[in-house]
Symmetry: C2
Subunit: 388 residues, 2 copies
């Protein structure tokens, strides 16, 4: 299940004292090759954290040997000192692994504006490098958790072009500030397939576009979102046509579903499925508008099938539709039919954790599903007392 399940990877997770809780907070994932291909997507937030600014440059050439990750501080809006901390950490990893700093990507997560202790993270890097092991994937996944209640890992296998199998795995963290611009959260994916960087890049962008990019838990885009995919080639297997994309999308979708399922304070996981859209962009825009509607999200928390709030959210978009033709179903009950009250809304059962909202725009053949969560007392409680 872990990022070290594919051949050619080692990992570690250690405690460097960055978190007041004393929980593990530094992770290292190393690609031992023979390939060192990498692709990555980053937050489109224009206020990017220092590790994002660093990793964007370091991954640009399609090569990386390692990813260093820390929780306990986002290293964002920490001034020039903050960038130097990221740089020094990458140099230390390079020194310990015998590669250049530019082959080390860095990810940070935690509170924005909190200076990261350079000595503590340095000690953590040394401990992690010493602890690197092919059994270290689970420890790494634990060390990147912030408000996550469970670590998130996924694994899938794919077919090679000449037979044989390759493996692809991933780990993810993220429970709040969960509304991707391009990618979201921290995600490290590994594969032992023989794939070059440009192929990795194409596959990664395609997969994140329909998985992490369709996740909008709380409408708040992070400054640190990063998804990294590394290929070691250690299986010697070159993927069959479509096999990389399929495997990658499956692992990303599984991780994204886990993120929704563990979102801060949520009682419900809500799939907003938009059908009959004139374009995929229209479907995503409508899905996202419903997913960001606090009133609808609070209604779901209260198990109240208040479908008028879905339609009010649809109406704020520029998508093609005629209000008098809209259908809305909640968990299979068509509560609004052609823009008028439909079946009895009291038949809707909102007790299960998973809620399905279906909006039919009747304007074309395109569809998209955006995942979100309900707005709960626990969300307000958790987020009214995070930094203090």
């Amino acid at each position: 299940m872990t990022v070290t399940a594919p051949q050619g990877f080692r990992a570690a997770g250690v405690t460097a004292g960055l978190k007041a809780s004393g929980r593990p907070d530094v992770a290292l994932v190393v690609n031992d090759g023979p390939l060192d291909a990498v692709a990555a997507v980053y937050t489109s937030n224009r206020c990017k954290a220092h590790p994002v600014l660093w990793s964007e440059r370091a991954s640009a050439d399609g090569h990386a040997r390692a990813v260093l990750l820390n929780s306990g501080g986002a290293n964002c809006f920490t001034g020039p000192e903050g960038f130097q901390t990221t740089h020094a950490s990458a140099e230390l990893v390079g020194e310990l692994l015998g590669c250049g700093a530019a082959d080390v990507l860095v990810c940070s997560t935690g509170l924005i504006g909190l200076p990261l202790d350079r000595e503590k993270i340095g000690a953590g890097v040394r401990d992690a490098a010493a602890a690197l092991a092919v059994e270290g994937g689970a420890a790494a996944a634990t060390a990147i958790m912030t408000t996550d209640t469970v670590s998130k890992q996924a694994l899938a296998g794919g077919e090679g072009v000449d037979g044989g199998r390759f493996t692809l795995a991933g780990m993810a963290k993220g429970a709040g500030m969960l509304a991707p611009g391009l990618a979201t959260m921290l995600v490290v994916l590994t594969t032992d397939a023989v794939v070059e960087a440009d192929e990795l890049d194409t596959a990664l962008r395609a997969a994140t576009r329909v998985t992490f990019d369709r996740l909008d838990s709380d409408g708040c885009m992070s400054t640190n979102d990063t998804v990294i995919l590394m290929a070691s080639g250690a299986s010697g297997v070159r993927p069959a046509p479509g096999a990389l994309a399929e495997t990658l999308t499956a692992v990303c979708a599984e991780l994204a579903r886990m993120l929704v399922g563990d979102a801060e304070g949520a009682d419900h996981d809500i799939a907003v499925e938009v059908v009959g859209a004139a374009s995929e962009d229209d479907a995503v825009a409508v899905g996202r508008s419903v997913a960001r509607n606090n009133l609808f999200k609070a209604a779901v928390f209260g198990k109240d099938p208040n479908w008028g709030r879905v339609l009010a959210a649809v109406g704020t978009t520029a998508a093609s539709f005629d209000p008098d033709r809209l259908d809305v179903s909640l968990n299979g009950v068509m509560v609004c039919r052609s823009g008028a009250p439909g079946d009895d809304a009291s038949l809707v059962d909102l007790a299960p954790r998973e809620v399905r909202v279906l909006v039919d725009l009747k304007a074309g053949p395109h569809t998209a599903t955006v995942w979100t969560n309900d707005l709960t007392h626990a969300y307000v409680h958790e987020n009214s007392a995070y930094s203090s």
Copy 2:
């Protein structure tokens, strides 16, 4: 203080039984002239309620004699029957007042998707017409309340071009689904100034743009938002240059501030002031993005000066700025200076109800202030059990 304070207006507020609570729910405001000039702005939500669709047409010629308002049902997504109910209500008002139905504007507020009882509203119209009085303004303001805890009224006087004074007054309702597209909520404004419809229209658009349009309590745009301004000319006073705009903007700003102060479940009223913007649009976009950030709003509820969430919200906009030059102040403490930690955030006192967030983009001379509220347990509680 009431809409009947200007000369030439009568109003009434009665109980028609549309609300389960038995509280007043039908209001009528009548312009007795000599002028019957009107201007109105409506929600830009594309899913417009039937009374909005009706009033858009009825106000297009710049003439109206009366506004009928009901709480206890938004008459939105109620099918063709719903539009007929609006039409029949306007016809009945016209019959009772001796004018055409097209001179009667209609506003509804309450739950979306709930059919409006035509008999009950008809009886309410008859009762309201019989109760019309120059002392009826306060009763009308009470009858349009939904989750509002207080009725909202404001009054100002202005100078005439040849001396003399005119009066301008308004009433408003709205406590949730409070994020205007063009206008917001239900607002009726009256003046006894001598003003033609086109001047009214210009003044109303200018005033709402910097008042109601800068209000974003919960990011949820209503299907029923309407702001109507009627002039009777009964004072015989033609406003001095600028006097109408000034008076109107003052009354709108006072009503908008009252709406923020009574927003559902709010503990804090938050003014997000953006300065140093390259354009007014940039300033509004940044202010609105901060105003819609659930994480920041929850932090304010928890009295937590978590300024990183302000910057993360700024970063999601397309406004001109350099992240390394941004300043953020919370209640006068500059917690972020030039994109790095500034003064001690623990000095920020978030105990008062009013919170001032100041964001300096350092990109130009433009400014704007967007008002919002915090995200509280009471908001979640109230909105998780509205329709049931």
